[in-house]
Point group: C2
Chain length 347, copies 2
């Protein structure tokens, strides 16, 4: 384990991403997504992803020269083809379009086909908050969950993210997979040699497991039983079926090299100023926050956290201490740097 | 227990609702919402609600003459004051506006303040499906859930509903409270003298309980732990904070007679035709449905259900058999009919 500053990690990621063909601006977006995920403690979506992105690009499975194409737009709603580009770049461009449209019409959305994994969905949703708007992001993912009552992997972990501007210095943010946990969290725990709690997953035979590798080879359980299945189904409809993207069993895992992932997204935003002055909204939100924060505490808890507050606190800390990078991830980054012939001073 | 036909129950509800001052058209909407909930097996939101609606109206806590007022609208987004009318009527009018706007702009939404409980949220979302659109409905409710790590009731059961048109003869529908179960389900079980499973709720002292009355007087647990809390928080922001409605601890229970409920909603829809022909969408959805339906079955399950399929099946059955009305509910309806001096031939 080594602590590496965010800026150093970001520069390293940029160098690798430019090496595989991204322009400066695109490389910066992807590098920022990766490092910001680490800063916020979402290590499973952080720099550990860089080698697999590089590998997929080198295999021609991600198009580093993609320019997202707006196939159709009707006032407030667009259909976008990601042209198999990086999900972070496609998503950012689409969110910027949504922000622009919501400026005029109050609410906007876009469905995206032929895209790729974009890492932490919350980072895309938070882009709207910088403009004083509420951002929404849904995406399908490779199959990880069976339908309720079944055992065949059919739906993804299909996360739901939403970010709301506040006067706290950080937005209120949710970013939740519709499984009990995200696949990448289990992958990260496998890399760290940890067990997973019972109730997260079943093995291939449909039996409860504490082994993260068995879980990755098996079945992730939906959050809240059939409710998680229902949410995952709707995310699949909005991001996969409606966009013209791949959906269900056909979406490819990031470690599947037989073709592009074919991921679909749904991105949207709401312009608060179309309803009330932003300051008034933030003032009202502060009242809700005060209600939440002043709750009596349950046994074993010493404070109430807002959605996104833990991640903000970790970010403040890691901006000081640097980002902890496990030895195994460092080793993979070094190997990747060697094969890409870029300098690596992370060790 | 007695079986009563949907049409007879609806006529009875209409008579009561007109008696308290609703116009024919408004009474029909509310009566349909109540009876359709029963038809779909959501008895907690069905005809058992009629007496409390009548009582609130008689106490002047619901305005039977309300005309929803569009305070502001910006292209695709509206702010609406429900003028303390019935949530079903306010919500239907607002959804119709959303459908009209989505026809032009592809996606639309509305935040609603000063409204009331509208019963089963899915029925409002399904209104969009009749026009070939995808409908969304969120609403805050009276506090039922503490923030994660706390014990003070601050957030409502805050349901999320979404309905998608399919070629199956019924829409795909989700309608889920962000608690493990809805308060009304526990209320219905209390009326039937049933125990609730452990894990649904805590009593006032923060201890697990199987007693529905203790649960109603205590704490409902969020679905999926902190994830349910995060979802409930966002629903509260979108329907309560953003609308200018009451929110958090200030929203009143339907059985609290100290003032209007002050409920807020978020309603929206997506025009599928703005993205692809409706038939193409339905064809793609049918492929996802085929994937889901063909999953291998888990132990103890004999088939896979789609979201909303169980409710559709119950509806088909109850259209034949009539709606089972428990004796206790019949008694309350009879009492209400007597005090309102309307005829009641349900017994």
């Amino acid at each position: 384990m080594k602590y590496v500053s965010a800026s150093r990690l970001e520069e390293f990621a940029m160098e690798a991403l430019k090496r595989i063909g991204l322009e400066e601006s695109g490389a910066r977006i992807v590098a920022e997504f990766l490092v910001r995920a680490n800063l916020r403690g979402i290590d499973s979506h952080g720099i550990m992803r860089l080698p697999i992105y590089v590998k997929r690009a080198r295999l021609g499975l991600i198009n580093t020269k993609a320019i997202p194409r707006f196939i159709r737009s009707t006032g407030s709603l667009a259909l976008v083809d990601g042209e198999n580009g990086f999900g972070q770049i496609v998503g950012s461009e689409v969110m910027d379009w949504c922000i622009m449209r919501a400026n005029d019409t109050g609410i906007s959305g876009a469905v995206v086909r032929n895209s790729n994994n974009f890492g932490a969905a919350c980072l895309l949703a938070m882009r709207a908050c910088e403009k004083g708007m509420i951002g929404f992001v849904l995406t399908n993912t490779a199959p990880a969950m069976p339908p309720w009552g079944g055992t065949t992997l059919t739906l993804g972990t299909n996360p739901i993210a939403c970010a709301v501007p506040s006067d706290l210095g950080f937005p209120i943010v949710i970013d939740m997979s519709t499984t009990v946990v995200a696949r990448d969290k289990i992958r990260a725990m496998a890399k760290e040699g940890k067990k997973i709690p019972l109730g997260w997953a079943l093995n291939k035979l449909g039996r409860p497991t504490e082994d993260p590798l068995e879980a990755l080879d098996g079945i992730l359980l939906p959050v809240g039983g059939h409710k998680g299945y229902c949410l995952a189904f709707m995310v699949e409809v909005l991001s996969g079926v409606l966009s013209g993207s791949l959906f269900g069993r056909d979406v490819r895992q990031i470690y599947d090299f037989t073709g592009p992932q074919g991921v679909g997204h749904f991105v949207g935003c709401i312009n608060i100023e179309a309803i009330m002055p932003l300051n008034e909204f933030k003032h009202r939100l502060a009242q809700l926050i005060a209600q939440v924060k002043s709750s009596d505490l349950a046994e074993g808890y010493d404070r109430i956290y807002l959605p996104g507050e833990v991640e903000f606190n970790i970010e403040q800390e890691r901006l000081q201490t640097g980002i902890p990078v496990p030895d195994e991830v460092l080793l993979e980054l070094t190997k990747m740097a060697a094969s890409e012939k870029i300098s690596c001073d992370l060790l």
